[in-house]
Symmetry: C2
Subunit: 507 residues, 2 copies
Amino acid sequence: MQTLDKTQAKFAQLAAHLREVNDIESASSLLHWDQSTYMPPKGASARGRQLATLKQISHEKFTDPKIGELLEDLRFYEQTLPYDSTAASLIRIARRDYDRAARVPATFMSALCRHQADCYEAWAAARAANNFAAVEPYLEKTLELSRQYADFFPGYEHIADPLIDRSDYGMKVSLLRPLFAKLRQELVPIVEAITSQPPADDSCLHQDFPESQQLEFTRKVVERMGYDFQRGRQDTTLHPFMTNFSIDDVRITTRVYEDHLDQALFSSIHEAGHALYELGNSPEFEGTLLAGGVSSGVHESQSRLWENLVGRSRGFWECFYPQLQGVFLRQLGHVSTDAFYRAINKVSRSLIRTDADEVTYNLHVAIRFDLELAMVEGKLAVRDLPEAWNERYRTDLGVVPATDSEGAMQDVHWYVGTIGGMFQGYTLGNLMSAQFYETAVKLNPEIPVEIEQGNFTVLHDWLKQNIYQHGRKYTAVELLDRVTGSPLSIDPFIRYIRHKYGEFYVI
Amino acid sequence: MQTLDKTQAKFAQLAAHLREVNDIESASSLLHWDQSTYMPPKGASARGRQLATLKQISHEKFTDPKIGELLEDLRFYEQTLPYDSTAASLIRIARRDYDRAARVPATFMSALCRHQADCYEAWAAARAANNFAAVEPYLEKTLELSRQYADFFPGYEHIADPLIDRSDYGMKVSLLRPLFAKLRQELVPIVEAITSQPPADDSCLHQDFPESQQLEFTRKVVERMGYDFQRGRQDTTLHPFMTNFSIDDVRITTRVYEDHLDQALFSSIHEAGHALYELGNSPEFEGTLLAGGVSSGVHESQSRLWENLVGRSRGFWECFYPQLQGVFLRQLGHVSTDAFYRAINKVSRSLIRTDADEVTYNLHVAIRFDLELAMVEGKLAVRDLPEAWNERYRTDLGVVPATDSEGAMQDVHWYVGTIGGMFQGYTLGNLMSAQFYETAVKLNPEIPVEIEQGNFTVLHDWLKQNIYQHGRKYTAVELLDRVTGSPLSIDPFIRYIRHKYGEFYVI
């Protein structure tokens, strides 16, 4: 009995210590949110310093050897508990996060952070000036630091695995490379087929749609999806994101283009998808390491499921399009549901990942994934990146960037992160969104019918039950297996694309 | 040389340690700001926990014995520096704050905090139900804790002095009690004289003034005062306040009543007055203990100077009233400048401190000041507070609250703070606002003329030069002496009131 008491006291100590770290990180998140929404321009400099201070304190507190000792002392206790009990899961996830954080020296992390800040500045200037040479030395250093990071995890199978682990724990190059290769093999011909047929007309989306009306409509849509404005809010920002400060305060942001109706609409549905995930965590996870989403890929699977499989489906607009027409009668009164549906699902060969449709999107990601692997493996030199980039765009998408700004300097990721591990989550998200949704509909065939009525209850409940409530408890691999009974596969996604686009195109 | 190097290294260590504490406190301030402006309702519970965590961390870091050692080691260095040098001032203010924080055990502070939270809840319920008995035991405990707090500072002259020191360092009962007595002696007959003459008509303020137009106008007014929206912003909230997250991010809030034009207007000018103070701190104080305002009283002197001596002056409205009429032509087109000026300066015997005009306001404060002293001295029992309250309102203001909710339970202060030290700052602020302004105008007779032109440059520069830039460097007593050459006095305030109201009333 005394031993059990002692053990429980240690568990309570661990939980208290972790909660302190959680609270500091929630504060940081609020500082970030404010920075992107309401902060006056001149507040930026002190804000950067404050964020760095909070980060250092939370890192120090989280890598305190005391946590390591508690985790050691709780090893036996953990083994006596069911794997998926809250206590065992908390210890397991804490150990995983702690081991990772403790392996990387604080001095390295702060050097990396400083370099990332410098690199970001250099990138912003170089991109504006279309001068890749200016950013090359920074990218070289990022590459060097990325390799050094990997070396803190000796025994890896592939040098990119520890980098991938940071956001998609357990995903490995040996699994992902063949998956991307197969996906590319499937998608390139589909894109070729679709884009050789007459394109959809999306001019109806590019009229004049006043901001306030767009925001009011998207608010109604996300509310219908189940986003609770008692536990969140929506603000405007430059680059839309979701963030949370607790299980009961999960906020979304969007941006509105008055001549681009789909921006605010689909970015709102996307971010609300992320938010529903976190809002649906088991309440007992509040303030613990179990709150949140499994991984970058699983999180993205939830935003993309709502954005694309639901939000760009015909059934969804059977319900919402008449309402949208009611708001924008002058602009859309003469546009049929079918024409609108085709407009929001227009497929085109394009240069910019973030603007890409769901058919071509994963080709953009595959290019980046392959190129970052090649760089971290030492097979592609940084100076040769632009050429390799352009070549792959030519072969895969049939378009070539006119400048490196729309080419190898397009995305911020490599310039504020590592090289390796930065892009796989997007495609994992798309693949898993189809895999999860296919299962949901198989088990609940009424889902598509309900969606046509603007009712998301069965789908939302199923997602809560099977995915949301578990927070970070399972790994992506475990979750996929539990929920779909299958390992990660490209098949459901390809089936979804073929079925949906097969309606309009010969593919 | 080596010794100096060592000393400077210690000073740098102290500064770094204090900056860390500062950054945590800035984060807390942002969490508070968000809580009062944008936080969704259900975010409250986790937010409370996060604020408690940050408070504990900053308290631990600030009371770290390491800081005490550094302060000891720097004692000689401090004495070699000019008193008003930045370094000497930083060491001096840090020592003062540290000594105070270190004397009070962390366990006591957290017990006090917990009690304050409970007491607040009890008060909110008791006030709603007009049930003073329900809050009595809580107030008894607050009184007990307030006395215990004072006892951590043995050697005090009066038991309330350590409580007053918390917000108005250096102010003592021996100075304040005669001051309040004299003020009461002067004001009671003035109020009697004014209120026995025909009252001003303020019905022009109580029409329908749409929120957005009110906000737009107040924005223009505070901008003209010199409030910089690049370094701040204004949002709406329930109880207006000013807060800052750095010297370059000082925000104000207001509330708008559509049938009460003076609310948003004067609360905005008031909060902008607080903000100008902090925005005017010397830039080198950013992130240090020298940033901010001297004391509760001096801070309030700046908000009241702008709100009353400037914002409720005839000259101010000579300039702004035509603009206000332009915005609210239907409502104010037929109201003369003189009628408007009299309306915003209406004097009446009232029950509620926060709604009181500038003539009666200090009587409200004096009542509270005397009653809290009597309680902490043990001369007034908590259960007798309502009766004592009502009796003083009868004698001083000639009105008696019908309920304790508008009486002894009116203000939140005693129910979330201590008993003793909670109210003096308001009156100190009013007195000092007149004392500072009289000096400013004596030295710069063009100030009132400039104000008539909506130009605040000379006044604002004088305040920056003499008050704002110094932040917390001097005590209130030192600052008054430096700036006005006199000790704290009620005379400038009484002269101001007699002069201003002598225009309309025989007093």
